[in-house]
Structures are given as C-alpha cells and as structure tokens.
C-alpha cells in the first residue's frame, strides 16, 4: 500500500528496451506446404554497419587551429562589412571571399535549450545545454554548449556568458564552450 512520506524511488521499468543483441541461429524451419509461405512471419537479422571517415575541415580548418590556441575565429566580408561568428570563407551576401578575424570571448545567450535525449553519440552526455551565442559587433550567431547552470530555468536569454577552452584540444567545435560571465 502506498503510504504518505514514502521515500521517492524511481519506478521499475514497465517494458523491456529493444536490444540489438540476440542468439546466433543457423537454420529456421520451413513448412512443407509452399502455399502457407505468404503467411510466414518475417526473418529479421542484425546487420552491422561501421565506417571511419577521413574528414577534412577544408577551408574551415583555421577555426579549429584557433580553438586549440584558445582563440575564437570568425570571418568578415571586407566588401559588406559583415562578420560571421560561425566562419565561412564565402560571403553569401555578395559572393566575395571573407577574411579571418578574432571574435570577442564574451557574448550573450541569444537562445538556448536543454537536451534530455539526443542522437546515440551524445546520449551519454545528456542532459546538456545548447546555446546560440550573440557577440557585440558580430552579425551572426555561434552554436555552443553552456556549462554551469543546472536547470534550463537558470538560463536567461540575454545573459552574459564567456568562452572557455579545453586544455587538451580535441580539434572539435566543442573545444570551446561557454559559462556564465558573472
């Protein structure tokens, strides 16, 4: 019987999770009457698919070199005077080539979310906060992780945040992350 003041414990799961493991089977039965085959249940097998890609950051590479040297790099179009916080070598406004510039390391939360689930690769890191960062004098935004606040309610749009860098670079955009500035 449920009592008041009972210790709150997580509920036992009500269903089994689908697993990608199973038993190795080398044969299945086949009925003698071929007319019954259309009613046969489907045979489902596991089919692994693993690939290592050789991925080049290409023209975006200087950004990652910047991160490993604790600098946040964007690009600026000399013609449009437009600064991209997430760098791109081609200005989509005029079609011209942009130049690399250093961005400020403090900005504000333009918007945010807290992910409680995610793609399989990031599932073990949940929950985590994503933010789009805005910087003074920069025309576009930058996607990053926000560390520090415990709950989404602790994050406010417009709040000041500052960049932090991993000591050992992974050459990933997560080499930089943000924390509350004050």
């Amino acid at each position: 019987m449920a009592k008041k003041n009972q210790v709150k414990r997580p509920a036992a799961s009500s269903k089994f999770e689908e697993l990608m493991t199973g038993t190795t089977v080398f044969n299945v039965p086949l009925p003698a009457d071929l007319k019954t085959l259309k009613g046969m249940s489907p045979i489902v097998i596991r089919q692994p698919y693993n690939i290592d890609y050789i991925h080049s950051y290409g023209q975006d590479s200087p950004f990652f070199a910047g991160l490993s040297n604790k600098k946040l790099l964007g690009t600026k179009c000399p013609k449009c005077d437009y600064t991209w916080a997430t760098p791109r070598l081609a200005c989509t406004r005029c079609g011209g080539e942009t130049d690399w510039v250093e961005l400020p390391q403090t900005g504000r939360v333009h918007t945010f979310t807290t992910c409680y689930f995610g793609g399989e690769e990031f599932l073990k890191e949940t929950p985590f906060h994503l933010v789009l960062v805005e910087f003074d004098g920069v025309d576009t935004l930058f996607l990053s992780r926000l560390l520090g606040p415990e709950q989404p309610e602790d994050i406010k749009i417009g709040m000041k945040i500052k960049a932090k860098f991993r000591r050992n670079s992974q050459l990933k955009p997560t080499d930089v992350y943000f924390v509350p500035a004050e």
Binding site: P42, T86, T113, Y116, E120, L123, L130, L143
Partner: protein, 428 residues
C-alpha cells in the same frame, strides 16, 4: 506550362515498424491503392515517375528509388529520385507537377517512402542530426529536437508564445487523428498530458514531437484532358512554391520581414527577421504559391491546411510564415480556436469554432513521419478532403470538412532549409 491535376492517391498505414515488408512492398501498397481508386487508369498510361526517400542511412541500400520503380513495373520509363530532408515528399510532389506541367509526361506517378524502424530511435536521431553542418553543428550535440527547441525559446522570448499554446496543437492533431485509420498515434490528450510527458529538449516534451515511422504514399498526377477522362473529380494544383534557407541557424539573417500581400512594413516595427524564430523559406514558398494561385488573403481564401508539424512549435511558426496570422500571433491563433475542426470535441473550451482547420488528418505528430512519404501523404489526405471522399477512404465521414474547395499542403526540411507549399483546388 499546362494545368496539372491530381487524379488519385494512396497511403500505406503508417506504423512504428513494418518488419513484414521491404520498402518496395510498402510503396506498392500505396501505389495499388491509388491505381484501384481510378479504374480507368491503366498501368500502361503512366508515362513515368518520380520517387523520394530521405536517407540512405535508414535504408542501408543505395539506389533504393529504382528498386521501388522496378517493383512497380515502371521500367524502362523515366524516373528520378528526389531528396531534400524533411521536405523530400513535398519536393517529390512538385517534381511530379513539373513533369506534367512541362508536357514531358501526361501521367506521372509520384511516390515516396521511408523505413526508419531499421535502427533504434536514438541512432535514428543521430542520422537525422547529420542533416546539420558536420563541421560546426553536429559535433556540438547534434539533435534536431534541440535545434527546434532553441528556435521556439526565441519565439517565446520575442512574442510571448506559451508552452500551453504549443500543447494545444498536440491535443488538436492527436484528436483529429482519432478519426483517421491511417494514423500511427490516435490518442485523446489534454494540455496537462502534453506538459507532463517526458521532457526531450526544453520546452518540448515527447508529445510535442512527431515519431519515426515506416510508410509510403503515392500521388498520381495528370494533364487536364487525361484527368477528366480518368475521373469526374480531379483536384487541380493551382500554386507551387519552394523556399530555402541557410543550413546553419547561426547564419540566418536578422533583417526585414518578407511581407505578405495582407501585411505592411509598419506591422513589424523593429522585428529582426527571420532570426531563429521564423522560417524564411516557409514565407518565401507561401508567397510564391499564393501569387500563382491568386491568393491575397489566405485566412479567408483557403479552406484547410495540411502542414509539417514535426514539432508543435513549427506548426505555430508556420501559421505565421503562411500569413494565416501576423508574425508573433501564432500562439494566439491556436488559442482563439481558428485551426481546430468545427465538428470535433477536443475536450477543452475554445473561444470560437474552427474556421481554418489545420492538419485535419492529424498531421505528422499523430499520423507519423516516414520522411520521404510525408509530403505526399499530406497531398493524398488533402486530395480526399477536396474530393469529399473522406468517408470512402477513412470509413467514417467524421473528418470530412463541409467546405473543402481549396487546401494548402506544406512540407518542411531541417530547421527550415527547404520548404514547399502547394495549393490544391476542386477541379470540376
């Protein structure tokens, strides 16, 4: 360009998993349904086809398109595969329209599918997240629900939209689907149910987000002369529009609103547009389709809408993109009751009866979202509404709208990168 009509459609019942069939057979179910619905259409009259599916990762089969085509017996006639993320099905529908409008084909079959059950849900979410920049966005924690959640948090900040308004969309669409036998999820919900379900990406809960599905859909399109030979009730496609936007949300401009015919610059003061709160591609696609169809006041001139509600938030944002209400008024639009069906009891008090039902079929949230089929599914459901044949196809007239002379279908890809809008009208 010549007028194009839809003469028939078919949908496989969308399901979480269809281990009983490969994708070819699921496509054939929808194709056969469409063929059987117009007995005068002989297989030999089909001049060619277009086929759509989103992800080779889900299928683990390259060139799955041609395998569907050969299964249907449409070789050696022309075909091509169409792909554009979540808007894949909508783009395929328009590719079929192009084939007939150009005169290349008199009859074109447009079909699409997705079989997403081949991987577990979170692996599927990883595949979908690969539809974001793999240099800058995916590695930060790529998750589409997270991207849309960031967009709606900004929408709430700009315009005061509430989570209860989002939840109303979920209640509405799930309830509509209750009368749709093709829908994957048919549930009677309350606003509290939506808010109390598991938080996925703040503030979006499990019931604010569509699920993954296995399914297929087929539309048969024809020129005017052939259409009227085949059926007394063809549906004319009177407008098409396709918009695009930059993949990285961070790159979206903060400029001026693309104004609809029923709006003026002074409506928007200092609003920075589209930012990350609105879908510029949706507005662009809508304006193109409205111009072509001669629509200047969409709220009054359209009878119903089937739109891409992969998230409850995107339905609210899309009301605005389609100029059914002004930018910022999407939350109030649903709260006032406009997009509800007048004949359905939603178990909540609404200030007014629905005047412009949105997602009478149940939308993606309740019907499911087998990506390559979704935009075509919307066309089929809209086609049946306009024909007045809902009873025949759903087995019950409950979801048949009294006035369904002109409908709008809307298909949308990754954070608004591709959006298609097509206008369909009673052709007889």
């Amino acid at each position: 360009m010549r007028p194009v009509y839809m003469v028939s459609g078919g949908v496989s019942k969308f399901a979480k998993a269809r281990p009983d069939a490969t994708f070819q057979k699921i496509v054939k179910e929808s194709f056969d349904y469409a063929m059987n619905d117009v007995p005068k259409l002989k297989h030999s009259m089909i001049d060619g086809s277009v086929v759509s599916y989103f992800s080779d990762h889900f299928t683990r089969q390259l060139m799955a398109g041609i395998m569907a085509v050969d299964y249907l017996g449409l070789c050696p006639k022309p075909n091509k595969r169409i792909e554009g993320g979540g808007a894949t099905g909508g783009l395929c529908f328009q590719a079929g329209w192009e084939a007939v409008a150009s005169g290349r084909m008199n009859v074109c079959a447009a079909f699409g599918f997705e079989t997403m059950s081949h991987v577990p849900t979170w692996k599927g979410n990883e595949f979908i997240a690969l539809a974001s920049d793999v240099n800058f966005d995916y590695p930060v924690g790529g998750f589409y629900s997270g991207y849309y959640a960031m967009m709606v948090n900004r929408h709430m900040h700009e315009f005061g939209t509430t989570v209860e308004q989002l939840a109303m969309v979920s209640v509405k669409n799930h309830m509509n689907a209750y009368g749709n036998p093709y829908a994957q999820k048919r549930r009677k919900l309350t606003i509290a149910d939506v808010r109390n379900s598991a938080m996925v990406a703040y503030p979006l809960t499990l019931l604010d987000i569509c699920v993954m599905s296995d399914g297929a859909a087929t539309c048969i399109l024809a020129d005017e002369e052939t259409a009227f030979k085949l059926t007394d009730h063809p549906v004319k496609i009177t407008g098409v529009g396709t918009g695009t936007d930059m993949m990285r949300m961070s790159d979206r401009p903060h400029g001026e609103v693309l104004l609809a015919p029923n709006e003026k610059k002074s409506d928007y003061g200092n609003l920075k547009y589209p930012g990350v709160h609105s879908f510029r591609a949706g507005r662009s696609a809508g304006l193109q389709a409205y111009r072509m169809a001669g629509i200047t006041d969409p709220l009054k001139q359209i009878d119903f809408v089937e739109l891409h509600d992969a998230y409850t938030s995107s339905e609210i944002q899309t009301y605005e993109d389609l100029a059914l209400c002004k930018y910022g008024d999407g939350g109030k639009f649903v709260e006032a009751g406009y997009p509800f069906m007048p004949q359905i009891d939603y178990g909540m008090k609404l200030p007014k009866k629905g005047t412009l039902p949105v997602n009478p079929s149940g939308g993606l949230i309740a019907c499911g979202h087998p990506v390559g089929a979704t935009g075509l599914m919307q066309a089929v459901f809209a086609f049946w509404q306009i024909q007045g044949s809902i009873k025949k196809h759903y087995g019950s007239p409950e979801l048949q709208l009294k006035k369904a002379n002109r409908g709008l279908i809307h298909s949308h890809a990754g954070t608004g990168t591709y959006v298609t809008v097509s206008i369909m009208e009673r052709g007889w």
